[in-house]
Each structure stands twice: as C-alpha cells, then as structure tokens.
Symmetry: C2
Subunit: 200 residues, 2 copies
Amino acid sequence: MAAALDFWFDFASTYSYPAAMRVRALADEAGVEINFRPFLLGPIFKAQGWTTSPFNLYPAKGGYMWRDLERICADLSLPFQRPDPFPQNSLLGARVALVGLREHWGDEFCLEVFRTQFGDGRRIDDAAAIEKILARLEITAEPVLQAAQSADNKARLRSQTEEAGRRGIFGAPTFTTADGELFWGNDRLERALLWAKQPR
Amino acid sequence: MAAALDFWFDFASTYSYPAAMRVRALADEAGVEINFRPFLLGPIFKAQGWTTSPFNLYPAKGGYMWRDLERICADLSLPFQRPDPFPQNSLLGARVALVGLREHWGDEFCLEVFRTQFGDGRRIDDAAAIEKILARLEITAEPVLQAAQSADNKARLRSQTEEAGRRGIFGAPTFTTADGELFWGNDRLERALLWAKQPR
C-alpha cells in the first residue's frame, strides 16, 4: 500500500494557501499520495467559543499572521494579496470542491480557489466567484453548482467536518496519517510527509 | 555591528523548551548574537481574556501540543517529560534569570530551568526548586534570591514584559530583530536567524 497523507483545509484558512501551493510537489518527491479534504472551520471554532477567525479576535496574533504570511509567500515566490473581507465564507467553495474531488478536477479547483483569494486578493464566497473559477478550469458551472447544493453533497461536507472534529482537528491546514498522527500548520508539512513514509 | 536576535520566552512556555535548547548552536553557526529576554506571558494572555494557558483552555489544541512537542523532542534527541502541574508559575524563575543575565550565568540558568521542567518533568515554581537549579550551576542561592526579589529587579521584569507587549508579542517563543521583524514559534527560529543576518 502506498504511503498516504490527508490534507485538511478550509478555503478561508490563510496558512492553507502556501500549504496547498506546496503540497503536491513535495508529496510527489516523497512518493506519498495526497488526499485533499476540504472541511469547515466554522463549526469547530464555534465549539471553542469563537464566532470568527481567531486572527480577528486577537489583533496582535492577526497582525503577526498577515506579516508572517507575506514573508512566507515572498520566500516561496508566491503571489500574495490580503483579501478583504477576511475571513470569507467558504461554504459554497467547499461543497463544489467535494463534487470536483469525486470527478477529476478537485485538486485543481482547490488550488485555483486559494490562488484567487490569497494570490489575487479576490472574492471566493459567492456563486459568481465560484463560476469564474470553474470557467478558468473549463468546467460548465451549472450542473456542478446543482450537484454541490444537493442534499447528499451538503451531508457529505457536514460529515467531513464532523470527521475532522473527531480526529481532533482544531485548525487548518492539518495533515493526518493512516496511523492517527496529526500535524498542524503549513510548517509541519515536511515532517508529516516523512511520517507518512516512515511511521515511528 | 554584529547581527543580533532577541529571544523572548516564558519559562512556562512549552515550545520555548526546544527553542532554548537549539538557539545557541544555531546562532553560533549563523554568526548571530542572541539576547535571552525572559518575560511573563500571564499579563499578555490576560489582556486577551485568557486566565490560563490557551493549551488548557482549548483541549484539542492542548492535546495536540503535547504530542507535537513529544515528536519534536524525539527528533532532536532531547529528553522530554510532561510536567505536572502545567503551566507552572514562572515569576520567580524569570526574576532570577534577569539577575543572572546581568552577571555571567543567565543563559545557563535559563537552559537549566527548561531542562528541569520539560526534560525531567520537575517543578520550577518555588524557591526550593530554583535553589536546586542554582546549586547545579554552583551559584550561591541566597544573595541571588535577594537580588531577584528586590524592587528594582521586579520593576525590570515588569518593564521587560511591557516591552514585549509593545513589540506585539502575543506568545512564546518569539524572536525579534533590530529592524522590527517578529517571528513566533520554535519553528521560526531558522528563518529569524537568516533575517537577522540578511534583512530584506
């Protein structure tokens, strides 16, 4: 069985942007299979008593995060624009991603959502924004949006978010291994890949 | 002028342990001068509405942190024992550290406090514990404890903690550079050293 790593993210998560941009090349190099697992941080934050991003609730931490992310993107030569508003509602994007991940364009869609939001600083939180992203991937939006909003697909996202909670996920990005290890943060990606290859 | 980096920590901060154990060797290698800056997280957490460590307030995050720290220490071949209670009151340790940093034994004292607490899982929160640590460094405890509890020295620690707040520090370890950059976390140490050498 090939080594595998689950990559858990919410589209509104800032540090998930560099993680998403890095994960496939690093995983290929390591010979590890990556499963994209979009979920919603909202219910998980709510369970901790937070009504918005902790980066908004704690201004010193938030100010630091934006500067840190800017430096990280510069180091990686990734475009970076701080989106406004922040955080954006990632519900529709996550539902569409789940449709794409059952077809052949899920990973590409996810990367394009992150690029649009944090590379270009644009909106990703409504149907028009998602349609533009699908158009760039040459995917016909209407049937996808319909599938995304189906009762089945909504339930699938709820269940994915519940699984994140059961696994002890409290933030994003998070990487989980088959043997139950959890690695939180863009800066843990390399260690997580190594663990996936050589559990200890 | 030699490149320099300020290393801000609270003795109760878990991730400050591997940072403290790593910082001097990495700084020597990079040719960067390190200034140990103990301060108190308590007043800074209180300003964010927290009455204890966020790792205790948010159990999922806390559980993750202990496992993550265990893995980090294993990777570094550092001894690790989870201390009980957690967090410990770091006030006396920080005051004594400030005395030591004005003499010649400050860095060694700080490293020994971290080793005692997180390497051996022992207490560091009362005079008896601090006396044992001083004894291992062959320092006579009585005059040190007296100097540590002097009004001047108490004010010095308050002022160091206030400076941390003014610099935007919200957690530990934090590294700050002469040009005002702030790097938070053990995993940012390497990047901070590089910045101290080559500001950008």
